[in-house]
């Protein structure tokens, strides 16, 4: 008699059965996060730069610039670094772009897969913990200089507030009380938010400050691409509150970016 696995449909699943990445692994399809033993010296890959997230009175704003750099070159001007990961959360990435995008794709499918199999969404904490596991799983690549550092933000219905999680290259997960940033311009972005951030900000104020922090980062960090009104390149921003996640429209962003660029001159 054949085993169920031979019939086509994956009837059996590895315990606990709701994890998509475990399923991929059992099928031998999981992405390769390891590298050959000999150190890779001259491998260069595009890097995603600055992303940041900030809490405000009713939720959280997450955003990122659009530039990917490869050494001293600009590899992509319109890269997207902020992705809604489900209805209540969004993830943004910095670091080796190719690996980061794969990680985001896997993360998003994982959340949806769990929700469909179990009939309920993972808790925000559970999502952040899983993301930390993904970061840690590609630790061998981080040792080769191909690190991915995500940033995770979401609305937690149980505490009725927005929450921000930052990560380090080894998968450490830290919940930020007010704001968090990752990537080459993170220091400047954080420095800006340190003075500008207020707990009682409205959504509009939070959007303005996140854009201004990206402008400040791009001002000093050459790898970060600020808003480029001439080419029509604007940062990606998403707002998450009790109604879920939605992306900030380009029209609104252009207006905010214009006033923010004017202010920095």
């Amino acid at each position: 008699m054949t085993s169920p696995a031979d019939w086509g449909l994956p009837l059996g699943a590895p315990a606990p059965g709701a994890s998509f990445s475990d399923l991929l692994e059992s099928l031998g399809l999981s992405p390769r996060w390891d590298v050959p033993d000999s150190p890779v010296r001259d491998l260069s890959a595009p890097e995603a730069t600055t992303v940041l997230a900030s809490r405000y009175s009713e939720g959280v704003v997450i955003g990122g610039d659009r530039q990917a750099t490869e050494g001293h070159l600009i590899a992509h001007r319109r890269m997207r670094k902020v992705y809604p990961s489900d209805r209540m959360s969004a993830v943004a990435v910095a670091g080796t772009a190719g690996l980061a995008l794969e990680m985001v794709r896997l993360f998003c499918v994982e959340l949806e897969h769990y929700e469909k199999i179990e009939g309920a969404m993972l808790s925000l904490e559970g999502k952040a913990n899983f993301l930390s596991r993904l970061v840690r799983s590609q630790l061998p690549l981080a040792f080769q200089g191909l690190a991915v550092v995500p940033l995770f933000a979401g609305y937690d219905p149980s505490t009725e507030q927005g929450r921000v999680y930052t990560f380090d290259v080894v998968g450490g997960r830290y919940e930020e009380h007010d704001y968090g940033a990752a990537g080459s311009g993170a220091v400047q972005a954080r420095a800006f938010l340190r003075t500008a951030w207020q707990a009682e900000m409205t959504e509009a104020e939070a959007v303005e400050k996140v854009v201004a922090a990206l402008v400040a980062a791009a001002d000093v960090d050459v790898a970060t691409g600020g808003p480029d009104l001439r080419r029509g390149i604007l940062p990606n921003l998403a707002v998450i509150d009790s109604n879920g996640v939605r992306e900030v429209s380009e029209d609104h962003l252009e207006e905010v970016a214009r006033s923010s660029l004017g202010g920095s001159r």
Binding site: G8, G17, H113, K116, G119
Partner: protein, 228 residues
């Protein structure tokens, strides 16, 4: 060693089919109906905790009648299949027909190879993309696959329910009218007080995922709108 009795293949298939049909007939039926903005799936479900209708992919929903543990196993397998395909290739490459074929194959093999066939009947619905027609597929315990338009009923009373629905079904109904029609047909067919509903729709919206459960309150207000 006991050589056992010879049973003809015809007899074997008849026995298994009868066994499966009996099992399915014990459960409550499910109907699916196209309406103006999508597809409605409606089931009588007194408890409400155990779902018979659920989301499989962006535009695909699953419903099952019969033995809960069996269609639940199949539901999860379908989700796994869809998510793996969508992850390996593209989200557009996951189709109802592909999934239904996999279900049909699996059920067919179980029907002829296992000690007992699965006592289930499945329904796969897919919301058509940009003017493409919707798909409603029925998969029986032995793997038989049927493609329908307009209305489709599965379960023990599928024939009666489906017949009554088809008589009164009109194209491009509003959602409230479709719910009302479904509930009326259930009430007439069952001829007993009905307790509790489970309903979900596949509906075009701004989101990528088109599946939406109708909460009790919403279902009540929608069905009450047309009642005398």
């Amino acid at each position: 060693m006991n050589p056992g009795f010879y049973v003809t293949p015809e007899q074997l298939v008849r026995d298994r089919a009868e066994f499966a049909r009996k099992g399915i007939a014990r459960g409550r039926s499910i109907v699916a109906m196209e309406y103006r903005k999508g597809i409605l799936m409606l089931a009588e479900n007194p408890g409400g905790a155990l779902h018979k209708i659920s989301e499989v992919y962006d535009r695909i929903a699953f419903a099952g009648v019969g033995r809960y543990n069996e269609f639940e196993t199949l539901r999860k397998a379908g989700i796994r299949q869809a998510d793996v395909m969508g992850y390996l290739y593209s989200r557009d490459d996951v189709t109802a027909l592909g999934l239904a074929t996999a279900f049909s194959q699996t059920l067919g093999v179980i029907f002829s190879h296992e000690t007992k066939p699965f006592e289930v009947e499945l329904l796969i619905c897919e919301l058509g993309r940009e003017g493409q027609p919707n798909h409603m597929l029925q998969i029986s315990y032995d793997g038989t696959l049927v493609d329908e338009r307009g209305v489709l009923a599965i379960g023990g009373k599928a024939d009666v329910l489906g017949g009554a629905l088809r008589e009164r079904f009109t194209e491009a109904m509003e959602l409230d009218a479709a719910i009302r029609l479904g509930m009326e047909v259930f009430a007439e067919t069952e001829n007993r007080p009905l307790d509790g509903w489970e309903a979900a729709v596949l509906e075009e919206g701004s989101a990528r995922r088109c599946f939406r459960r109708l909460a009790d309150a919403e279902l009540e207000s929608l069905s009450a709108r047309l009642s005398p």
